[in-house]
Symmetry: C2
Subunit: 272 residues, 2 copies
């Protein structure tokens, strides 16, 4: 299942930015944000999407605020769709962050926001709603970064797909958020159909093997991998091959969605 | 590793309750609570701790608010220790809830709080801080309910350890929170040393088998269970037996903590 989509950020003029800074607290809960770790996979490489706001040196995860009358899951989808135009996304809440010094110290937040929103020429004081302590709910998504077109919003100077092994120091506690997302993704590889929208509907063993190696960040034996994936019921082998050369026609596999849902519902107990 | 502890709730007088209602927003973030699912295990039975506040018909999970300058994890430990006096708890964040109608509709919250806090004789209006939309971060814990002594706070009329299969309709979205906690606990059984403070340091196979059956809510073959737990490296068999009768001296096992940490760090990949 391949999807075509465009990344498109939401604030597009200085007026919208000033309005957000001055009146955002009427629309958004002032203490809660959502940060999205968008993993991008293509051709055996795992990357993440980073943004750099005007005036800031460090890169950021894409994120946003939750509206007063908006469900949390709906907010995560809205924020990411405002940034990606993508709607049927595999979007997974993984952790809520409220421990880092940056999440407790208003002065740090104020300084960071003053840099980020310098274009608006509106001073963010210590009492400003954007200086409030803000906890952040982390969501992750997986997309094919080759199929993404990005149109940055007014505030964003630059964006990049960065290799997971070459991530620079990020703003706020975003490195910690990224690490936790990667840990969660890895721990869920054998419980969920991760890769459903990154692989063709019917895929070969080398294709899913490469995807899992990229996510786990290491190489492992293909035959053991196949044995385990089949034993756990994550994938199913078809009685069908793909012809890729005169002497090469590997078997095709599909995700065993029915079984995956069972595993997810009943926990690891199903495999007993 | 057995622990002895006492449950002891935090508000103990009408004055403290009135102070909380009138001035709580100066101490606590007004939009965020923590709810704790305390699983209790003893003698092959899995239960959860429920409270009933004065004036409310339905039961509740124990919960509380996060202080302005308090880390989220610290808040979870404080809230639960105020209620249990227990400090070195296996406490696990599992999900943040912000989707249910009760989490979006102020009127429902207002009505519920007015019932819960009726003893204080302070009306909670729509503009009151306690009527604000409140998202809740869920944490779960596992304790031995036979070793808990409970001293309910002023507001709590009653408490109970309720069998996991006989949970009544709870207040707010607490049934949803409980379901998600149970799902998470089950899915983590083979990744974490769950049961570490419920079993003796050295335990027999029937002891851990009964614990896992209680958590998964079903029976399964003991020999397959042993094989899987050893293969995944969750437990390790000792060259040591426990004498429980003239002809019965089963082998003892321990949790393989070093390996569990590796599994947790690297995700499921270690088992490949």
């Amino acid at each position: 299942m391949r999807l075509l989509y465009t990344i498109n950020f939401f604030m597009n003029s200085p007026e919208e930015l000033v309005d957000f800074i001055q009146h955002g607290h009427q629309r958004y809960l002032p203490h809660l944000s959502i940060d999205c770790v968008v993993f991008g996979y293509h051709d055996q490489q795992l990357k993440i999407l980073l943004l750099r706001y005007h005036g800031q040196e460090n890169w950021n995860l894409p994120g946003g605020y939750v509206e007063w009358q908006e469900g949390l899951t709906a907010a995560a989808h809205r924020i990411l769709s405002e940034k990606t135009q993508l709607v049927n996304l595999f979007l997974q809440q993984f952790y809520t962050f409220g421990d880092s010094p940056i999440r407790l110290n208003r002065i740090d937040i104020q300084n960071n926001h003053n840099k980020a929103f310098a274009k608006a020429n509106v001073a963010i004081t210590e009492q400003h709603w954007l200086s409030n302590r803000t906890l952040s709910v982390g969501y992750y998504a997986l997309v094919d970064y080759q199929e993404v077109t990005i149109t940055p919003e007014y505030l964003v100077d630059d964006y990049a797909w960065v290799d997971i092994n070459e991530v620079p120091p990020l703003s706020y506690d975003h490195n910690e958020i990224l690490d936790k997302a990667l840990l969660t993704l890895r721990s869920q590889l054998y419980q969920q159909s991760i890769g459903l929208n990154l692989l063709p509907e019917k895929f070969t063993l080398p294709e899913i093997h490469s995807l899992y190696e990229a996510i786990l960040g290491k190489q492992f034996d293909r035959r053991n991998f196949r044995k385990k994936m089949l034993a756990l019921g994550v994938i199913r082998q078809l009685d069908e091959r793909r012809k890729i050369g005169p002497h090469r026609s590997p078997f095709l596999y599909v995700f065993d969605l029915e079984n995956s849902n069972k595993v997810l519902e009943a926990g690891a107990g199903v495999a007993l």
